[in-house]
Symmetry: C2
Subunit: 190 residues, 2 copies
DNA sequence: GTAAGTTGAACGAACGTTCGATAATTTTTA
DNA sequence: TAAAAATTATCGAACGTTCGTTCAACTTAC
């Protein structure tokens, strides 16, 4: 049944995520994934065409899931300020609740693997929020600069502080998140 | 002669950098490095103990070189504002003039490889500039917040825009660098 | 009983590394 | 200064291991 299939695929995904965060893209192998998941390595080929297929599908799954969390509760009629704030809070929650997935996404993003294997046409991870920022520019709320520059100044600090949080060098407390949201807004406000 | 040795090591380093940016940590191998450098793979072992040794030494070389470029012309008696500005300009120049090295550093930083193989006690890549920011806090120029937060908000945008620049999605013109320096300052000023 | 799922064994290829045989270079000796 | 000795550098071949993947045989579930 599809439930069984999805469970097995999920087991393979989760095992791969854990292993990738431990030993990295450079040392992962099908046999290591299989051993950790307590299955035969040939079983993986029942669900995935190849190692590359598994890793690429895993990446896009992570990306989709991240976007879903990021836009949870966002509606088209929201003000730019409310959308801005909610997205950054959602993203903070995503980091705190999905540490392994977050770290793995970052590992993928800076490796030539994804760039090579699939063009990832949709662009960077934050592409879906560009529309909101362009609205902010039009409404005169943000500086009239390139969108990617505004997105970088307001979102990338969350990525970096997420890594430091996972390293135990920062606290993602709600007070700290409030401070960051304010700093991000100040960095790009007109 | 030591010159000969250094030349050969440099050849191996440069070949490895180029190859890592093309195929990544996951697909690099001693034989591929050797073939690209037109030497025997066993020759690499005359200069390096192992593949791990080569990659780690390469990483620390890149890091040292980056720090040297970053602090070029920085003196202890400089004002915080001047030091802040010069470091960010130096870093921008480093990105533009050392694209491959910059990208490779980022690839290393997000892979478990470096974290695993060496503890990298000295901390993050931007650790050396923490002192300047702490001076800025003491002088009341910057917000009284954790240093790593201030460094992130002012420096990390340069990292991200460096990647977008190399992807052809941004221009590191002197006008744009001026804008970014101003945004970085505004993000953290008291 | 048929279809879905799993397995261990096996494949050739590539991996990191070692080693003894040379080649190239420098140092010592006469 | 030329030959000999010592050293430094390079190489191809080979080692055992692991890699990604295939496949025929088997088990499980409906």
């Amino acid at each position: 049944m599809e439930n069984k299939t999805e469970n097995k695929m999920e087991l393979i995904y989760q095992t791969t995520i854990a292993l990738l965060n431990e030993i990295g893209l450079s040392d992962i192998s099908m046999s290591k994934i299989a051993k950790r998941a307590s299955i035969s390595s040939s079983s993986i080929y029942f669900y995935f065409e190849s190692k590359e297929d598994l890793l690429i599908k895993l990446y896009f799954n992570l990306k989709d899931q991240m976007h879903q969390e990021m836009f949870r509760g966002i509606t088209a009629d929201m003000s730019v300020r409310d959308g801005f704030e909610k997205i950054l809070r959602n993203y903070s929650n995503y980091i705190v609740n999905n540490k392994a997935n977050f770290l793995l996404m970052e590992q993928f993003l800076d490796s030539p693997f994804i760039r090579k294997s699939c063009k990832d046409q949709n662009g960077g991870v934050f592409k879906p929020i560009y529309a909101l920022f362009e609205r902010g520019i039009k409404e005169g709320l943000f500086k009239d600069l390139e969108t990617n520059l505004l997105v970088t100044y307001s979102c990338l600090p969350f990525v970096q502080m997420g890594k430091e949080y996972i390293n135990g060098e920062y606290e993602f407390s709600s007070a700290n998140i409030d401070i960051m949201i304010q700093m991000s807004w100040n960095a790009i406000k007109a």
